[in-house]
Amino acid sequence: MSTGTGDLVPISPRRFGTLSRFPAWLLILLLIGVFVLYSMLSSERYSATLRFLLLGVQLTVVVAVVSYAIALVLGLIIALGRVSRNPLLQNAATLYVEFMRGVPLIVILLYAQFVVIPGLSNSLDELLGTRFLWQRNAAIAGTVGLALGYAAYLAEVYRAGIESIERGQMEAGRSLGMSYRQTMRYIILPQALRRVLPPLGNDFIAILKDTSLLTVISVPELTYYAKQEASRTFENFRTYNTAAFLYLTMTLLLSLGVRYIERRSSGGRR
């Protein structure tokens, strides 16, 4: 530290004191949120719109959570395929990622509802004599479509994490007598997962917003109700304000959650 020259005084990170850490943006957003909520509840027509749109919130959350959970698992499996040295697995995983990443989600959803799910459900029903009729509930096609699409995005996130771990660790594990699988499971993955927590969290927020695409296959989620409200009242400003408010409330809560997990997981290292 002491070089003897004495003319370079490092700026103390405490210069702005605790003020620099104060999340002013959060306070401002909270104030705006409270103000908007207050003005909505004090206007009869706004609160009617709010009550109507709230009908779609539950399905929005359920679809987001379920499709994200599937994508988390499927994405990890695909990522392991991507880094695998088995050319068959590696090619299959890469094909999946390139295909799903290259097709817009909205097209995947249209495929799911109008082609894949009816075809699958009808042939299963024919084969087994059941009456699944999965096409009757478009939320199924919507959840499957979102999960399959996001699995490709998440696989790339996982892969980036795995490849960010130094090669030497795999070699060290192997030279200690651990198998590839064991080294992956006990050494590489725990570190990789910690590194990719922030981008994984971002994708949860993204999937929540992308549930709005399900309105094209008539899944009664938040945007579906918003479009219905707008088309029957012709009040676009009021309706989409309310929809944006509800989406923001959900995504901001998630964003805070992601920050919390991020801070906790990097806690011991900085």
């Binding site: 509802q113 109008f114 009816p118 009808n122 009729l133 096409q135 009757r136 478009a138 309105t215 094209v216 296959i217 008539s218 579906y224 479009k227 219905q228 707008a230 088309s231 029957r232 012709f234 676009n236």
Partner: protein, 226 residues
């Protein structure tokens, strides 16, 4: 510039051969353009926001198989009626539980409609289908895709249009019209509120085309029955 939702044959659809908007409405507008000094250009748009788009001056007029209703009159102005139609029901072939529109409210039937149309209103009010069983689509083409896949039980929409879809090769073996029209509605051309110049021009042209039998001729051409 005229706004239209070009998924609604025989009134407006995209000709697969030329990719142009064709149908009864463009033909009628072309006839009107010969009488009054306008150069109509049709632009395709989604129906549930079509009146908003007109009110915000994206278009000069909307001609898109639009039923004249009091609600819509608060937002836009309408010409005199140029054709009358009614709502009709289409169901899967072999569904013998749907014999008329009155059966739609029974058996928890799922009824597909296009969002923001009079078909949606007719399903809810005249046919009495519970709100939760009315499935709204952005366009009627998606509703037909779902009906064919047995994802819904029936569709309610404008008679000539469901008749046209039902006659298409992809659908004629799977779906069938049920009963007759159960409402009476008039189509009009919508213009921006207060645009009396265009409104008067359209009305004068429509009156003349009614008189000289041109509208009846177009109705025969597109097989539109009242």
């Amino acid at each position: 510039m005229i706004g239209t939702d070009s998924t609604y044959p025989p009134f407006e659809s995209i000709d697969p051969a030329t990719n142009q908007i064709v149908g009864f409405d463009p033909d009628l507008m072309a006839e009107m353009a010969k009488l009054i000094n306008i150069k109509p250009e049709f632009k395709t748009t989604s129906f549930d926001t079509i009146f908003e788009a007109l009110a915000s001056k994206q278009f000069d007029a909307v001609m898109s198989a639009v039923t004249i209703t009091d609600e819509r009159k608060q937002k836009v102005d309408f010409t005199d009626p140029y054709v009358s139609i009614g709502q009709r029901v289409v169901a899967l072939k072999g569904n013998d539980k749907i014999k008329s529109y009155e059966d739609l409210k029974t058996n928890n039937f799922q009824v597909g409609v296009q969002r923001g149309t009079t078909g949606e209103q007719a399903a809810l009010t005249t046919a009495g289908v519970p709100d939760a069983n009315v499935k709204r689509y952005d366009d009627i083409a998606s509703a037909f895709a779902d009906l064919k896949n047995n994802a819904i039980d029936a569709i309610v929409a404008d008679g000539p249009t469901v008749a046209n879809y039902t006659g298409q090769p992809e659908y004629q073996d799977a779906v069938a019209l049920v009963g007759d029209a159960f409402t009476t509605e008039d189509y009009g051309i919508a213009v921006q509120k207060g645009d009396t110049e265009l409104l008067n021009g359209f009305n004068a042209a429509l009156a003349q085309l009614k008189q000289n039998g041109k509208i009846d001729e177009l109705k025969r051409k597109y097989d539109i029955k009242e």
